[in-house]
């Protein structure tokens, strides 16, 4: 019977990102390379975060403090990734389908964001997904009638998209030196992360709903910024 849960959660967590990967990224070799290298960057940030977590024995279970340095490290590596792509951009553009297209950078940013997002999804959720095959479930502490597997799957799905839009916003921010955009990404990243703490809250009733709704709102806001940026770009060209 838990097979239904397993497939439901797997499709919820990874279905959308895989659909995007196969539909948009996979046909384009350079985007695949970009995505993989971005995933690698995310992993390095996680490695450093884990090292800090390991050393900080006292605050291992204090999530509020763990979030501080993990998010900061991810943003730091996002910037490093930008520097790398910035250097490689001319080369990347040479082999691109439309070498002169102004939209290439948005595509690169999106693929790099997908790399962050997918790796995040795999690392943070695969253990739970495997557990969901067992007969037992873990209920979400703040919403005791829904399994944590499913809430986590939805969170993973939203975060994958978060990473895509954050990457696009920050790339625009980095290249235009628009500190507002960079600040927005950092703030919403912290916001989204701290919101998920509500999932495990035992005091906030329906915490998971607030967490998911809040994340969706943040995602929509970020998407509006992305759309606006792309439209700006389009209008500039035309």
């Amino acid at each position: 019977m838990t097979l239904l849960t397993f497939f439901g959660c797997a499709l919820t967590a990874y279905g959308p990102s895989l659909a995007i990967f196969f539909g948009y990224i996979a046909p384009n070799a350079q985007l695949v390379i970009l995505m993989v290298s971005s995933a690698f960057f995310w992993l390095i940030s996680l490695l450093l975060a884990s090292a800090i977590w390991f050393l900080a024995t006292n605050s291992r279970n204090t999530f509020t403090s763990t979030i501080i340095y993990t998010v900061l490290l991810q943003e730091l590596f996002r910037w490093c990734l930008y520097l790398l792509i910035n250097r490689a951009e001319s080369g990347l553009n040479m082999v691109a389908k439309h070498p002169k297209s102004k939209f290439n950078r948005s595509g690169y940013a999106f693929s790099a964001g997908m790399g962050f997002g997918l790796m995040f999804g795999i690392i943070s959720y695969i253990t739970q997904l495997v557990e969901s095959l067992g007969p037992g479930v873990l209920m979400c502490p703040s919403c005791p009638s829904i399994s944590l597997y499913f809430i986590s799957a939805i969170t993973v799905c939203i975060f994958t998209f978060h990473h895509c839009v954050w990457m696009m916003i920050s790339f625009t921010g980095f290249s235009n030196r628009s500190y507002l955009r960079i600040l927005w990404v950092i703030i919403t990243h912290y916001g989204a992360s701290y919101l998920t703490i509500l999932n495990s809250s035992r005091t906030v009733n329906l915490g998971c709903a607030y967490s998911i709704l809040g994340n969706v709102v943040l995602l929509i806001a970020s998407t509006i910024i992305v759309v606006a940026d792309v439209r700006n770009l389009y209008h500039k060209i035309s």
Partner: protein, 693 residues
């Protein structure tokens, strides 16, 4: 730990350790399983091919069970929690027919009032057959033999293709299991069994053996049920050719029940075992040394008696046949295997009388209207009644002189012939039957507390308690009668012909009530009691054992705490008294310095000389081949084997409703389909935009 899982997502960290999440989801609990057993023709007990999972459903009464079976609107499979006494064939069939049953948990003892000992029914139903083990008894050829357990349900002989487990608050570990399961069951009840998540239990109870004993022995997927019997005699120089009559005092040591970890059998077997040990202690204080008497005394304590009289039948078979040892190894024999060959000193033709203690733990109420108090009953075999009558008369005569006023006030006699009502029922199921099958002319008396019907607790898991006054008095009375009768038999005299010296000597034989009480306590509640500890130093172990089961176990693969204790106790009671030299002490406390002579044993820190031996006890239909494997030699004889099983496990966890699982799947599929659609549309848009570029 829950929070740890959440943080994995929250901070995009992969600090989720797999074992952490397992412990969060699952609660592994200790278990008392019903296992699969096999005989020559088939299987009994429990088997579960898959790991059965069932939502806990609590049923406290017969009505609850009926309601569960007929209740609609229940969607999953259920683990039905019920009091042990509701576990009947009828209820099992009812639950099975509902197609909602995954497993059963029977609560033998619990802190909840529904499961407490005071809630037990006043009239029990024995789960054994209407005549336990009679198919291997003396009257197996008689199709109309007397049924000693007429209300027996035969539950023990049913086979179940789903797991059945017991809960019992007998120690800390099992109390934890009980609390966890009951808390979960109460949560489910509170949630009305339909407000998910509900608590479910999963059982791993795969038994390797199938079909019958012959098949599984050949495949090596089962082990013979058996253990070690103990025999002892104060006559250290007994030989098969000394022509001295032997007086056998016999009892059974093991019992059976549905849940082997709970098997106790206070009435079923412990009462008889305690009686024999008390008799041995009383006789050891006889002022006329036992080894100087004209007749030998032989104590036999048989194991695996609950399994077709396996212990006694094997003992009788071995002493009756000449052992042809093909591979001798000093005093023992490697093939066919015998750990020692001293039993060959017992000549069955010399056995002059058998006195057996059966169920003697609870004297019945006084017969109303007759003015006579409760009495014990002495059973004899009808067909050899003539041979046994003298012994029967003697035991009744002794009973009239014992005069145990506390056990039987206002009574003229404390034991009477079971056939005094004119009905010849023959012997009840007993070890003596094994002797009589081989030597039908031996005078035999079986002493029990029942005349017509065995205890309703026979082979029940509820046979686990005793009364410090009633049970002790009852056993004391039986032991007094048996010890005095055996003493007279060993002297070859009767009350009328005794010399004054003998009269004085028999007066010295008194049963120690405190010993009876101590033995009961040690054998039922606490194996680490001072009495056992004085022999075996059990408290030195890191986890001193307390309540131990009286299931005989599987041959050579399980420790035999009760045979070991019985051996030590009997060895001490039958030791050779050497007035000239004091016994060597310190062999146990200081083994490096003090070592016993080769013919001596170290018992309770003393080196003693004794004729006390173990004897292997397992179905006589089974034989051991030269390569130590077992095979069926004679399928018409007892061949009980126990299936080998994988580690048995129970785990408790939450389950969600099937409906919510379907919702999860639909959401996943929809979300993926939606994204695929979006990707296709957006690709078109991008293409169009780039073209216009």
């Amino acid at each position: 730990m829950l929070k740890r899982l959440a943080i994995g997502l929250a901070a995009a960290c992969a600090f989720v350790a797999a074992q952490d999440s397992y412990d969060t989801i699952y609660n592994d609990i200790g278990s008392l399983p019903c296992v699969r057993l096999l005989n020559a023709t088939g299987t009994i007990g429990c088997q579960s091919m898959d790991a059965a999972t069932g939502v806990l459903f609590r049923t406290d009464t017969q009505d609850d069970i009926q309601q569960f079976a007929s209740q609609g609107g229940l969607v999953s499979k259920y683990t039905v929690v019920m009091p042990y006494w509701l576990l009947t064939n009828a209820n099992v069939d009812l639950l099975k027919s509902s197609h909602k049953l995954a497993a059963i948990i029977a609560v033998v003892n619990g802190t909840d009032p529904v499961y407490s000992p005071s809630a037990r029914p006043t009239i029990n139903i024995s789960p054994d057959t209407t005549c336990p083990n009679c198919e291997f008894g003396l009257y197996s050829d008689n199709p109309n033999q007397y049924q000693w357990n007429p209300t027996g349900s035969g539950l023990l002989y049913s086979q179940f293709d789903f797991p059945i487990y017991a809960l019992n608050t007998m120690d800390v570990r099992n109390t934890m299991s009980y609390n966890a399961v009951m808390q979960a069951a109460n949560t489910n009840r509170f949630r009305g069994y339909n407000n998910f998540p509900l608590k479910a239990l999963q059982f791993h109870a795969f038994m390797w053996a199938a079909q019958d004993a012959g098949t599984c022995l050949r495949k090596g997927w089962c082990t013979p049920v058996g253990g070690a019997s103990v025999w002892a005699t104060p006559s250290i120089n007994i030989t098969s050719t000394d022509n001295k009559p032997i007086v056998v005092i016999s009892a059974a040591m093991d019992s059976r029940s549905l849940f082997h970890d709970l098997t106790m059998g206070v009435e079923s077997s412990i009462s008889s075992m305690v009686t024999l040990l008390a008799v041995a202690e009383a006789l050891s204080r006889s002022s006329i040394p036992l080894d100087t008497m004209p007749n030998h005394i032989l104590y036999t304590l048989f194991t695996a008696e609950a399994w077709g009289f396996s212990g006694s039948q094997r003992f009788v078979q071995d002493i009756s046949t000449t052992i042809d040892c093909l591979k001798p190894n000093g005093a023992s024999c490697t093939y066919p295997f015998y750990s020692d060959l001293d039993f060959e000193r017992i000549n069955p033709a010399n056995i002059h009388a058998i006195i057996e203690a059966g169920q003697v733990g609870s004297l019945g109420p006084a017969t109303p209207g007759t003015g006579s108090g409760p009495t014990l009953y002495a059973h004899i075999d009808n067909t050899q009644a003539a041979a046994s009558t003298a012994l029967l008369d003697q035991i009744v005569q002794v009973g009239s002189t014992v005069g145990n006023v506390t056990a039987a006030p206002n009574s003229t006699g404390t034991i009477q012939a079971a056939n005094s009502d004119g009905v010849q029922r023959g012997l009840p199921p007993s070890s003596s039957m094994s002797f009589l099958k081989a030597q039908p002319q031996i005078p035999t008396v079986v002493v029990t507390d029942y005349q017509k019907e065995m205890s309703l607790l026979t082979s029940s898991d509820l046979d686990d308690s005793w009364d410090p006054v009633k049970t002790v008095n009852s056993i004391q009375l039986a032991a007094s009668i048996i010890s005095k009768t055996a003493w007279l038999q060993a002297q070859g005299v009767n009350n009328a012909t005794m010399t004054p010296a003998q009269q004085q000597a028999i007066g010295s034989i008194q049963i120690n009530g405190q010993l009876v009480s101590d033995l009961l306590y040690c054998l039922t509640q606490n194996y680490s009691c001072p009495l056992v500890n004085s022999y075996l130093n059990v408290t030195a172990s890191p986890n001193p054992p307390t309540r131990l089961p009286h299931y005989t176990g599987t041959l050579y693969s399980q420790s035999q705490p009760f045979p070991i204790f019985a051996w030590s106790f009997l060895a001490n009671m039958t030791r050779v008294q050497n007035a000239t030299s004091p016994p060597v002490t310190g062999c146990s406390s200081n083994p490096l310095v003090v070592q016993c002579a080769s013919d001596q044993y170290c018992v309770g820190d003393q080196c003693i000389l004794t004729m006390t031996r173990y004897h292997d006890a397992f179905g006589v239909g089974i034989a051991m081949a030269e390569d130590n494997s077992y095979y069926i030699k004679d399928a018409s004889k007892p061949v009980w084997v126990e299936a080998t099983w994988d580690p048995i496990g129970l785990r408790l966890f939450d389950v969600t409703s099937p409906r919510s699982q379907k919702v999860e799947l639909v959401v996943g599929v929809l979300l993926t389909a939606l994204t695929i659609g979006l990707v296709v549309v957006s690709k078109r848009v991008i293409k169009k935009t780039l073209k216009t570029d």
